[in-house]
């Protein structure tokens, strides 16, 4: 059990952008909200999953919808708390803690705000181990925890309680509700026991985000190469393998938005001995990297594009011609690589016609 500091929040914003692999929304507003709560004297306590008793209730919280809306219609700060409280009422049981459903992007910060506002601890774990575009893409769901009943709340406290035949349909209905609520709404879902947290969550992903941010920051102050430092640090985590899969210059970026997804393609021409052109296919997040048609990294392993000089993670929105970048791929933990998990958020989950090959086995 430990308490989040302001420096942790700054580091988390960077680490969460890395884990967002191009998507997930800018954590800036989320970070400010938590910071504002801390300025008022509130605290955020983080619990290791092993510290959560088996028989307690954990209710994860998050934002869903368009980050573009969130940065304009700033939340009241009460929405996610209201979702959690409403779900407690519906289930007839008090939550012992909250937890992220997604550790990449803006959603790394929402449970911290809930923790600050309610005093509930936040479990250091999540269900995506990165960022994914849809709510059913969760290890929770894959391992049998149901997303429903789910609560979606707006700034008024208007809420919808959703029961659905499966988590994919929950995603579909809740997205419709979110649009009616103005394009961004705040949710509580995947309520589960402490035992289920230990069984189904990707552990230690909040602290991972903080460690990534801290590692990059400290390397820069010590004039070390931040990417080398990051790759040296990762083996001490569950994300035990990572390497640079490309260095080069962005020579082409194609983007279009269909049905709310940013579909795109980036071409990166190699330099520093990397010969050829890497093509990265994007659906909000970076999904697959190929050179000459040959796969170099593929979802759910992380594919992160970073600014070559500063090692800042670059989001899909800001990717453009001329940037000098380093592409890093990181192995996700085994819980995200089971055949059942890959059905949901492996290549098949994104209609990519390629088998999944772990990054460790790709030359």
């Amino acid at each position: 059990m430990w308490q989040v500091t302001k420096q942790d929040l700054m580091d988390l914003a960077v680490g969460a952008a890395f884990l967002g692999t191009g998507g997930g929304g800018d954590p800036y507003v989320g970070r400010l909200m938590v910071q504002a709560a801390m300025d008022e004297g509130k605290t955020v306590t983080i619990l290791d999953p092993t510290e959560v008793p088996d028989d307690v209730l954990v209710i994860p919280t998050a934002m869903m919808g368009a980050p573009t809306v969130l940065v304009e219609k700033i939340p009241s700060g009460e929405e996610a708390v209201a979702s959690l409280r409403r779900l407690e009422k519906y289930l007839g049981k008090k939550a012992y803690a909250t937890m992220p459903i997604e550790c990449g992007g803006i959603n790394s910060t929402i449970p911290l705000l809930v923790g600050a506002m309610t005093g509930l601890p936040v479990v250091d774990a999540d269900g995506m181990g990165r960022a994914f575009p849809e709510l059913h893409m969760e290890t929770f769901s894959v391992l049998g925890v149901r997303g429903t009943p789910m609560v979606v709340t707006n700034e008024y406290g208007d809420c919808a309680i959703i029961e659905a035949r499966d988590d994919k349909f929950m995603e579909w209905i809740s997205r419709g509700v979110t649009i009616r609520m103005g394009g961004a709404a705040y949710i509580a879902e995947y309520a589960m026991s402490g035992a289920d947290v230990k069984r189904t969550a990707v552990p230690n992903t909040i602290s991972l985000g903080i460690r990534i941010g801290r590692c990059l920051r400290e390397a820069k102050t010590n004039h070390e190469n931040p990417i080398d430092a990051l790759l040296k640090m990762l083996p001490q985590t569950l994300y035990s393998y990572g390497r640079v899969i490309w260095r080069g210059k962005v020579v082409d970026v194609q983007r279009e938005t269909k049905m709310g997804w940013v579909l795109g393609n980036a071409k990166i021409e190699g330099f520093d001995g990397w010969k050829g052109v890497m093509e990265i296919q994007v659906q909000n997040e970076n999904l697959i990297a190929r050179v000459d048609g040959k796969v170099r990294a593929i979802v759910p392993d992380l594919i992160c594009i970073m600014e070559a000089e500063t090692a800042e993670p670059i989001t899909t929105e800001y990717l453009r011609y001329g940037q000098r970048v380093v592409v890093v791929s990181v192995a996700v933990p085994p819980i995200m690589r089971t055949p059942k998990a890959l059905e949901v958020f492996g290549p098949k989950g994104f209609q990519i016609d390629e088998p999944y090959t772990p990054i460790e086995q790709l030359a």
């Binding site: 368009a66 573009t68 219609k73 700034e155 709310g260 011609y321």
Partner: protein, 513 residues
Amino acid sequence: MRIGIDVGGTNTDAVLMNGLDVLGWRKTPTTPDVGAGVVSVLRDLLSETKVSAAEVRAVMIGTTHFTNAIVERRRLVEVAAVRLGLPATRSLPPLSDWPDDLATAVGKHRYLLRGGNEFDGREIAPLDELGLREVAREIKRKKILAAAVSSVFSPVTADMELRAAEILAEEVPDLRISLSHQIGRVGFLERENATVMNACLVHLAAAVVSSFRRALAELKITAPFFISQNDGTLMSPQHVERYPVLTFASGPTNSMRGAALLAGLKEAMVVDIGGTTSDVGMLLRGFPREAALSVDIGGARTNFRMPDVLAIGLGGGSLVRDDGARIGPDSVGYELTSKALVFGGNELTTTDIVVAAGLEDIGDKSRVNHLMASTIKAALATMHRMVDTAVDRMKTSALPLPVILVGGGAILVSEKLPSSSEIVRPKHSSVANAIGAAIAQVGGEVDRIFAVEGTTRDAVMDIAKTEACERAVAAGASRSTVNIVDVEDVPLAYLPGNATRIRVKAVGDLLME
């Protein structure tokens, strides 16, 4: 004939132009009282060119005054920051994430009221008119002189901000009111920050405008004058008094547009090499490409349209090390004329390299005779590589573009750059800034989220284009010359239903009677 003036931190430059021809120019040191500097530079310019005040049809002024006031926290007034958005937005009140000294300078008067809109124009809540009248009374009681009104999604629909302004003006007739939809784009905190900054500058703006007005009157120039804003278009003095923040970063914009005119190019890269850094930007249809990211001003985040400029540590005073393999980012800066080898100093600078290579004859050439040919060669290669890489980074495609070189350090580039199709070195490039001001046009912009459902993208685009053109005309453009210079269409991620953010910019020539 037009006069362009650039009031910089160090120099005040003026240029007299007939159409697109430069008839003459002057440079004088900037004075603490800007008006006096303007009078002196104009008097010199007119007497030198033998042009009478009556022949001047318009005066365009670019100034860094307002940016500096924010950065130095000087001459700012306290502001009532009025936000319309409750029950949303409560988690982060106005001035969140501001440096404390700047927040203190504007007074921390924060008011949150019900109101605001959704992305598709629906109301979050009806405007709390009674609450607003109460706020107005408090503003009166506290004797606050300026207010900044920001409503959620006002770039989509500005009705609430306009209505709020009416109410505040009814209650406090002298209040100077800034409205966020006039200032920034989608991205609430950044737009609100910019609006508060604007409001705290309105008194300074009035003072600066009147000192310009007095300066021109003293010289019997009766022509109208304008001030350039950061997108390369003009504002009337009345508009500047209300929206001074729109002048932020007009300097680099004017410099790039001036370079474009001097070179006779509209699609090009501009490299402005100074003593310590080089600024690299891109011109699209004669305008600088705008930055996509938020911009820090005085430590607070804003989302102005700013020219996208990449600064690299290469200038005429940059230090050369490792036998020419490493250059900058440190520089002798303004001490070049005492510290560089050719000027009798002890530091090896890029200027020394250029002299040693026989490319320029500056200072005492004998003082660089000892440099090894290999060092000179390596240093020249490093400088060219730095410029070339920066140019290439700022381009939007692999297609080679012409590079326009301006600034005192332009002598550093002597060879072809692989990223460029040609290198252009225009005349008068030291006053590119003032020239950019002189040739500025009048613009209108629309930037908001449109719901395309129930209509077509083309229909929505037409609405946006018409509106941008009308805004340009309203701002003083001659209708027949207005055309669309920029269109951007970004659909919203994670949100089915075809909501799309459309940005259209139109410009035209200033209508001169």
